[in-house]
Symmetry: C2
Subunit: 359 residues, 2 copies
């Protein structure tokens, strides 16, 4: 059972969808599947954006696609850094030639709106970028406020929703997000390998008026939309089997209902956090900003995190994640995402943790 | 049945492998699979290169990884252009900031060694890059001669083996290739989504002594080898299910034996080419340079290629590819790759083509 920071458990029907015979990437039957994926992604992202599809790479490819299309050498970008994935956004933007201003907070804290505002006023950036659900710390950022401030300052807003999409509320249009990307292997419970992404008309205008070509050919959204759009011009061969899996995973999520799915994550995440505190763990994300689907917690005194984590895997077949960066060596990251976020699985997880940390 | 330029038919055991439960990308059981994939890829590429793995993207991501790691802004590269995929190499290199000299030949012809030599003498490039099996024309390039000339001139050699690997002989070490990449959905008969790649020690030295960071974070080989190598440092979440599929596809190829597999492609490809000439088609690749696994052929006079191709799909469930570029609207591209390259399938293909083009 997968309770790490992703991948999460995959539903049997998604695995079966992946095993369907491969057909051509320009076959009319396959093209219909692409259209349905686009429609379902718009529902899950809560957006009307026409340019909404799945990148042929993992969540990190989604991050790179978002940033390298919208930024040109010399452009300024303010990146909110609250953990590993914020740092990664800054690094990807720098490699693209952008001038990056990082606004950092200590691990476990949400971004500071006032500091973000100060940085935006000073830099007057083209883009403000940050992570919704920081997988390295378990912190949920107050997206709405930061996005509004950035838009009021005339910036485009890039949001990393890798760990949030289909687990907690994401409102791309409601929040005024210009580029939003996710991963498949978190709350969507599809195997890793694709990155759902959506670009607002404002973002596409900025891309169409670039002075320089997008540095990456593989991730050039202008070229890729000619395949996902009505023209169906060949760009690269679509990852057929993974797209079958995403199609089925989206169907399951929408069948459950997004609101019900968010509630399930909220309820079970709270139960997990209450229960492990009772078991002697210390929650590392600031109160009021804790993600239900990803809990970072310091292990109890006297427990060696690595040994205990290996015992969970070997004796119970349960995977949890180790801490990254500032939390390495003392904390776990416990995911309750998608198919892994089920009451009966949570009960088994808690029994196993109790058995191991008390022994 | 898939007789296009890829994807090719996928063996049932490969589809079943993909449907196995997902486990964590740092799970010791999964890491063992990565090691085995590396070992099998070295056998298929005929190389001892330590840095040999699968890119988390399609063949075009492999192309971009090869070029953006080895080239820096201002570096010179001579690209042999004999079709769409040579043009793509030149474009990817240009976007990476390289100074590109293209050496072109008319569609259907192999690269001209003398012209390549002249261009290399003039440009004194850091890199010479070309495509082994040009999927847009069906031409096989004389790799050995071009690679030797390039190395004698002190250049690194980048070879696109997307459509050749596991279908016709590829000798990475024997030919002195420095970076070689492929796709999974051609002669390996694995679904699209991964790009096997290998870097020589000489290539890795050139990368380690770069003056500038690799522009792509996602495709930075220095970072990725820390995950595929002994350190197992997290970079991005590996596409678990696709890697299961590649593992099984490589096992099948090595089980058959590479030489036997090459012979199967050679024999059936020749039969296809003889047979369609008898049906009134005209082969478009120059004699002596025809790929057995990918045949480009002008349809007989009086046959509308698009209508006939659609009838093949609708009435026989058979996919062939349309012509690209200079061959668009008048030619087909017929793939006989991996699991699609079987005598009984070829017989059904030829019957269907006969029925439709004579009707």
């Amino acid at each position: 059972m997968l309770f790490g920071p992703g991948p999460s458990d995959v539903a049997p029907s998604v695995l079966q969808a992946m095993a369907r015979p491969v057909i051509g990437h320009l076959d009319p039957a396959f093209v219909a599947i692409l259209d349905e994926i686009g429609d379902m992604l718009r529902l899950v992202f809560k957006t009307k954006n026409e340019v909404t599809f799945a990148v042929s790479g993992t969540g990190s490819a989604g991050m790179e696609m978002a940033l390298v299309n919208i930024l040109e050498p010399g452009d300024r970008v303010v990146v909110g850094v609250a953990g590993v994935f914020g740092e990664r956004m800054a690094e990807v933007a720098r490699r693209g030639g952008a001038q990056v201003d990082e606004v950092s907070v200590p691990w476990g804290r949400p971004l500071d709106l006032a500091e973000m505002r100060t940085a935006v006023k000073r830099a007057r950036p083209k883009v403000v970028a940050f992570v919704h659900a920081e997988t390295s710390t378990g912190v949920r950022q107050p997206v709405d406020e930061i996005a509004r401030m950035a838009r009021d300052a005339g910036a485009l807003v890039v949001l990393d929703a890798v760990t949030s999409l289909a687990g907690i509320p994401v409102f791309v249009d409601g929040w005024g997000i210009d580029v939003c990307y996710a991963g498949t292997q978190k709350c969507l419970s599809v195997p890793p390998g694709l990155a759902p992404i959506t670009f607002s008309p404002r973002a596409m205008d900025a891309i169409r008026t670039r002075r320089t070509p997008v540095p990456s050919w593989y991730l050039d959204v202008g070229l890729i939309t000619r395949y996902w759009g009505a023209e169906r011009v060949y760009h690269h061969t679509a990852p057929i089997s993974m797209l079958y899996a995403l199609h089925e995973g989206l169907r399951l999520a929408l069948d459950e209902g997004l609101e019900d799915r968010w509630n399930r994550h909220e309820r079970l995440g709270e139960e997990l956090q209450r229960s492990i505190v009772d078991l002697g763990f210390t929650l590392l994300a600031a109160e009021g900003f804790r993600l239900p689907q990803l809990t970072s917690a310091a292990v109890p005194d006297g427990v060696d995190e690595k040994t205990a984590r290996r015992r969970l895997l070997d004796e119970f077949g349960i995977e949890v994640g180790g801490g990254l960066g500032a939390f390495a060596g003392k904390a776990w990251r416990i995911g309750l995402m998608g198919e892994s976020c089920r009451k009966e699985k949570l009960d088994r997880l808690l029994e196993a943790i109790a058995a191991i940390t008390r022994a």
